[in-house]
């Protein structure tokens, strides 16, 4: 039986029609936020509490990267046993002038990463349970 593909963070990203992070844009001052679940506009000159969904750039430059060589504690769930190290990337989006974190797909070797390189958003498995394959956004080098 195939598992249900389930977004691990509904509303934060989509894979339709293509992998995209969903920010929130203040309806009053147009300030952008990610994650999108904002109750208040955090621009101190703006008292708005109304936001609209705002897709973020799908590409950016690698601001920095690192690894988890040991399994993080719960509530992290490893996708496989034994634990395999993986990389985490921080990517700078030019238009949005912000840096967004994401895991790097397991297939990408650490040696393939370099600060400043072009990265693109992909959607990949976070972990699976008996019924669901949970999906998450990740940052992958542009090939």
């Amino acid at each position: 039986m195939s598992k249900t593909r389930t977004l691990a963070a509904p509303g934060w990203f989509t894979d339709q029609p293509q992998p995209t992070l969903l920010g929130a844009r203040c309806k009053a001052c147009h300030a952008l936020f990610f994650p999108p679940n904002q109750s208040f506009c955090r621009n101190p000159e703006c008292a708005s509490t109304e936001f609209e969904e705002w897709p973020l750039s799908r590409n950016g430059r690698l601001w920095s990267y690192t690894t988890n060589n040991y399994a993080p504690p719960a509530p992290f769930v490893a996708p496989s046993e034994p634990f395999e190290p993986f990389a985490v990337a921080a990517v700078e989006l030019e238009a949005e002038k912000m840096v967004v974190l994401g895991q790097v797909p397991r297939a990408t070797k650490l040696e393939a990463l370099e600060v400043g390189m072009k990265m693109e958003l992909v959607v990949d498995t976070l972990f699976s349970d008996e019924e669901n394959e949970y999906l998450i956004w990740k940052w992958s080098p542009v090939t």
Binding site: A8, T67, V115
Partner: protein, 397 residues
Amino acid sequence: MADEVAILGVGMHPWGKWGRNFVEYGVAAARAAMRDAGVEWRDVQFVAGGETIRNGYPGFVAGAAIASALGFNGAEVGSSYGACASGTQAINLARAQILAGFCDVALVVGADTTPKGFFAPTGGGDRQQDPDWLRFRLLGATNPVYFGLYARRRMALFGDTEQDFAMVKVKNSQCGAQNPNARYPKAFSLDEVLSSPMVSDPLRLLQICATSDGGAALLLTSLDYARRHTSNPVVIAGASTRTPRYPNTHLEMPDFASDSASKVAAPDPGFRDSIAQRAYEQAGLGPGDMDLAEVYDLSSALELDWVEAIGLAKPGEAAGLLRAGDTGIGGRIPVNPSGGLGAFGEAIPAQAIAQVCELVWQIRGQAAGRQVEGARVGVTANLGLFGHGSSVVVRAH
């Protein structure tokens, strides 16, 4: 320039993994500070506690819990929380009570008992609304992940090397080995640091600070009161508990993203650079006046970020200072002569207070084995989750 209060006494409970109640460490540190000051508990009029959120109700009311264990004496009390900045919040509370004329003698105490391993989010359950829960769940973004990102960024931007980061640890561990309150009394070699297991590339196990049990305390008084006890008090000349200005373009732990600067321009100076600035302003001093500093080395590489943020070096030049030996004992501006968090580990509500203890011992010339000669004025810097800046300027009066 702001008015000053005296630090008449300082004290610690040694840091380690003792597994006892945090109140024990707090009481021991408080008694040590009172002995150091020559002040009796009955004369303490205000108790400011740094809270711990991992020790049940007594941790939330740390000021009262420690006052109760010392034996309630009718003092006024406050408990402050700002993550790793909790200690500075407690200092700021007590300092202002004295300067406002509400009391002459105040005790500041922070103590913690910590769990083993990585810090994980407090409490259980499925907490889809809690960013501190989600960063573990969705990204596996432990604290060392953030430290690794900052370190790799320095390598790319400034040409810092893994050896530079390891040298920070070597330098600080030499100091820690001379500090009876430090948890790790061992001077590590460069080889030992660089051969320890990689945790979050480029940072290895010996470059990432542990979680500790421990306690630290200050006995603060008005200058008039202090002059009746000593001819040369050490004073707090400035303290900062500043928050960021939006947008904060630095990627802060535990966030998923930095603020966006697309609609509102990033402030200048940025958050980290603004923290000590506030303490300097109150003190009427600048980075060039400092003889030493205690900064927030959650990782070895992070010390270099802070050396720049508090103005001891221009951006990108902290590793140069390190290589020249400027930030070691005997150097131009020693940094973390206590051994830093690398030698102590984190005991959250105590650490900002412990930084001030070290400055006092140094300024008094009581830091045997790690003494910064001629130390007259120093600065601390620190940061708590969710925008809690922390910095204190301490000087000989």
